[in-house]
Amino acid sequence: MHKSPKLVCKNVWKLYGDKPKEFLQSHNYNPDKRIIEENGYIQAIRNATLEVYENEILVIMGLSGSGKSTLVRCMSRLVDPTVGEIFFENIDMGKLTKNELIEIRRHKMGMVFQHFALFPHRTVIENIAFPLEVQGINRTEREKSAMEIIDLVGLQGRENYFPKELSGGQQQRVGIGRSLAVKPELWFLDEPFSALDPLIRKEMQNEFLKIQNSLKKTIIFITHDFDEAIKLADRIIIMNEGRIVQIGSPEDLIMKPADDYVKEFTEDLPRERLLSVKSIMNNQKQPSNSLTVYEDEKIFSILEKVLSEGSVSVIDRSNNIVGSLNRETVSRFINN
């Protein structure tokens, strides 16, 4: 797979309180949560280490207060981490000057916010063109690029509206448009759809995937909704009380939850719709059977086949046999 890291976080901590750096230092960079709280500090992020790969959708998942928003703000340096290093394209973000940081934001980053954070005193087109405006690009040029984006996010004909004249879904389209205006390489989305109605949310998720298919950005997506995470993610990071609990693909999380906390999330999910054959097959390659299923098919779609046939061979997309699956395994899985 595409394993070149676009962004790397190494041992990132964020504590709120008086002189947190000195406190961490005096506690050997590893104080107990209890000690942190007793000293009047609030632990927002605890020793986070992770990599974000090029062109992947990395979803950070956690309940409110789990530190996911803070983590993302550390990555964009909207918030300075207390200790730890963050590398963006091998550049140490902590060592950037103010102006270098502004340059990176102007050309390589975009962010979408939960409550849209549109500028109420600017029209749709002025909002979307804003990142270009602050770069000093002249009006005709930036409005031209902005119009392209307006087409992309489906807001044709509304470019001269003020944000408050739009519905929630439309407002978030503006937010998405604005974050894409600079053609960013790293795209942050902080719970972009959680303020929307369920139907609109679904529509926006699909649209988001469509956009990503054509643009292929490196995406860090925050949500507290596990369904959304599973639907969108290549990989998921689960956070709890500032700590990264588990990093892995959706299937990893379901099959091998790191602890009870993760398990609780995954328990009630319709697993046969989420997991693929690969995750439950046994690796004995039984060539005997003529019936085959693909390894990346979802379980529910092959249920009938397996249950009626008793056992099937599993093949990959190049038609090589990679394993097998029998009735017992499947029924055990379903009844589990």
Partner: protein
């Protein structure tokens, strides 16, 4: 959408152009048509409001009769009711309990000594559990003793202690009444507007006549001046209560009265406390004026010092007022913000009232000690500090060394800034002015506002006070412009920087509570009598809201919007000019609005340094005890501020609506 914008622009430009034209050639045009009335409203057409008012008030006082009692009996009865608690408080803090009258009186029980009062305030501050506040409050009270302001301070404090609760209770009652009845609200609101905008000088004489000379009249004037915000906050608090709460109260079977006193009022307590805070501050603003009609106390000291040109004495007494104001303000604010702690059930009597018991025993022991050592009764004279000489020398030093520089600064500002504005306002023919004003009213508030502008400005013309009103506008206008030029950047600074905010807040609090009389005379010494001096005094006083509102506006922008701007690659400068300032604009407008209100209320006081505006007219009314003259001029001032207020508020709301922020 675009089309109306363009046509609005055309109208705006042509109106401005015509106005300028009329300002340059107004006189010529009037002369050409031989119609001088265009520039100067003819005297014989003015309606003698003043005379009628005087006659009416005189009739009211001398003859009005409600069968069983006269109007005079009624007002005297009110005065008597207010006087009783005042006497008690005064006895506790200042006079002691006396038997007999005048110099024969014998003190049976001494008033609280300075150490006891320090103890009382210390205990109050203890409830807030804020160390800094405790120190501040104690130091403030000690200041009063050390700078020899004790006697007067206690008189002033006593009147505050009476005026504030009465103002608060009446305020809440009127607030509830107007909450319950829309009709009453419609009646009360304009009265509140007038109470807040008619200069106090204008109604001092009628109050004196109705309630008699002395502290009671001063109390009543103070209450009139300080009560309106309480009514408004009560109404606001009640209207903002979550309707579900009200419904749950009703479903629990509350009667209407229970609903009000057991549900609505307790829920609105935090907002109500903000109102209380306002009442305290406004009452302290009245200290000086109240002393003119017999309140005595610190206000009298300030006036008397300045009469003697004892600048230092005036400053010491003035700062005593500031110190009391800041102590009471911070105390009441932190009571408003006090977290409601979970009540511990079954507290013993002792635990519940521990602090009060301690305080009482403390006071009693101080009394006993006072019998043996005078230190516990009076602050020793030899430890008192007097700074008169320092201030006098300071002003003298500036005067001798920098007068010429100040003078040339003043002349520049006068010729290039103030005089053009003055000419402008005096040059425009009054019918045109009223016309434009009505159009502006129409633009911002449609028919209602246009009508208001029209009626009020016609009233001003027919009183024959147009010219003075224009001078008022000019003085107020130039002061507000300069106050905004200074105040808005300071506000931005305070909004961006926490430390600056702390320093500036202390600074503008002082400016606002320090009686202007204190700096009026030094300013006269440095800038001579005239409009410029008046302008400086007005600016100093009216600066505060421009700073405060701007800081608030800049500070309170949604943090996600700021992040969105930052992630878009804004530099700090771009962030300020492209995002923060435009978004803070509605708030800044409200700040300017408040600045205008304060400037107008201050103009009356600047009549004391020789301006020729409506303020002077009000002041003449006061010094000649001409009830009608004062009231009518006062109404003109009130109308000007109401017009300005309505137009700016409508503008601010328009902006907020456009932005979709509330």
């Amino acid at each position: 959408m675009r089309k109306t914008k363009i046509s609005n622009k055309i109208i705006f430009i042509s109106l401005t152009f015509l106005t300028l034209l009329l300002y340059w050639y107004g006189k010529e045009i009037a002369n050409y048509f031989d119609s001088k009335w265009l520039v100067k409203y003819p005297k014989h057409y003015s309606f003698p409001f003043a005379i009628y008012t005087t006659t009416f008030v005189k009739w009211l006082i001398n003859e009005a009769n409600f069968l069983l009692f006269t109007f005079n009996d009624l007002t005297r009865f009110f005065a008597w009711i207010i006087e009783q608690p005042y006497k008690i408080v005064l006895a506790i803090f200042s006079k002691g309990i006396l038997r007999g009258q005048g110099q024969d009186a014998i003190q049976i029980i001494e008033p609280l000594s300075w150490i006891s009062v320090v103890g009382i305030f210390f205990t109050l501050a203890l409830y807030t559990k804020d160390k800094f506040l405790i120190i501040l409050v104690v130091l403030s009270i000690v200041y009063l003793a050390v700078f020899d302001q004790w006697q007067s301070s206690m008189i002033t404090l006593s009147s505050i202690i009476i005026a504030v609760p009465i103002g608060v209770i009446l305020g809440i009652l009127f607030g509830i009444l107007s909450y319950k009845s829309k009709i009453l609200e419609k009646i009360i609101t304009p009265i509140l507007d007038l109470m807040q905008t008619v200069p106090v000088f204008a109604y001092l004489v009628p109050i004196l006549v109705m309630f008699g000379f002395g502290p009671v009249s001063a109390l009543i004037a103070t209450i009139i001046y300080a009560m309106p915000p309480m009514v408004r906050t009560t109404l606001l608090a009640l209207n903002n209560i979550d309707p579900q709460l009200k419904e749950s109260g009703l479903m629990s079977g509350c009667t209407e009265r229970q609903l009000m006193w057991k549900v609505l009022i307790p829920v609105s307590k935090p907002t109500l406390l903000i109102g209380v805070n306002q009442v305290i501050m406004l009452s302290l603003n009245m200290v000086i004026i109240a002393s003119m009609i017999g309140a005595g106390g610190l206000g009298y000291d300030v006036l008397a010092s300045l009469r003697r040109l004892d600048i230092g004495g005036g400053i010491e007494s003035g700062i005593a007022i500031v110190v009391i104001a800041i102590a009471l303000d911070r105390l009441s604010q932190s009571f408003a913000n006090l977290p409601t702690l979970s009540k511990k059930t079954q507290l013993t009597f002792y635990n519940k009232y521990k602090k009060i018991i301690f305080l009482l025993s403390y006071i009693i022991s101080i009394y006993i000690l006072g019998y043996f050592f005078t230190f516990f009764k009076f602050f020793p004279k030899e430890l008192m500090i007097n700074t008169s000489l320092f201030w006098e020398e300071l002003v003298k030093y500036i005067n001798i060394n920098y007068f010429d520089n100040l003078e040339s600064f003043k002349i520049t500002l006068l010729t290039f800034f103030m005089l053009p504005i003055k000419k402008f306002f005096l040059g425009i023919p009054w019918p045109w002015f009223i016309f434009v004003l009505t159009i502006i009213g129409w633009y911002f508030g449609k028919f209602k506002l246009a009508l208001l502008c029209l009626v009020m400005s016609i009233f001003i013309v027919t009183t024959g006070l147009w010219e003075k009103a224009m001078i008022t506008l000019y003085l107020c206008g130039s002061s507000v412009i300069i106050a905004s030029i200074i105040g808005i950047p300071l506000g931005v600074w305070a909004g961006l920087n926490d430390r600056a905010n702390k320093i500036l807040t202390a600074f503008i609090d002082t400016l606002q509570t320090l009686p202007s009389f204190v700096y009026l005379i030094p300013v006269v010494m440095l800038f001579r009598v005239g409009d410029f001096t008046a302008m400086i005094a007005v600016i100093l006083y009216a600066l505060a809201p421009a700073v405060r509102y701007t800081a608030h506006g800049v500070r309170n922008i949604n943090s996600q919007i700021i992040e969105a701007a930052l992630i878009s690659g804004c530099s700090q400068r771009q962030l300020l000019f492209k995002i923060k300032l435009p978004l803070a604009l509605p708030e800044i407008l409200l700040g300017i609005n408040q600045t205008i209100m304060l400037a107008l209320s201050m103009l009356v006081i600047t009549a004391l340094v020789g301006t020729r505006d409506l303020g002077q007219e009000v002041y003449i009314g006061l010094t000649k005890a001409d009830i009608g003259r004062g009231l009518v001029a006062g109404l003109c001032v009130a109308f000007i501020s109401i017009i300005a207020d309505r137009i700016i508020k409508a503008g601010s709301n328009k902006l907020k609506n456009k932005y979709g922020i509330k």
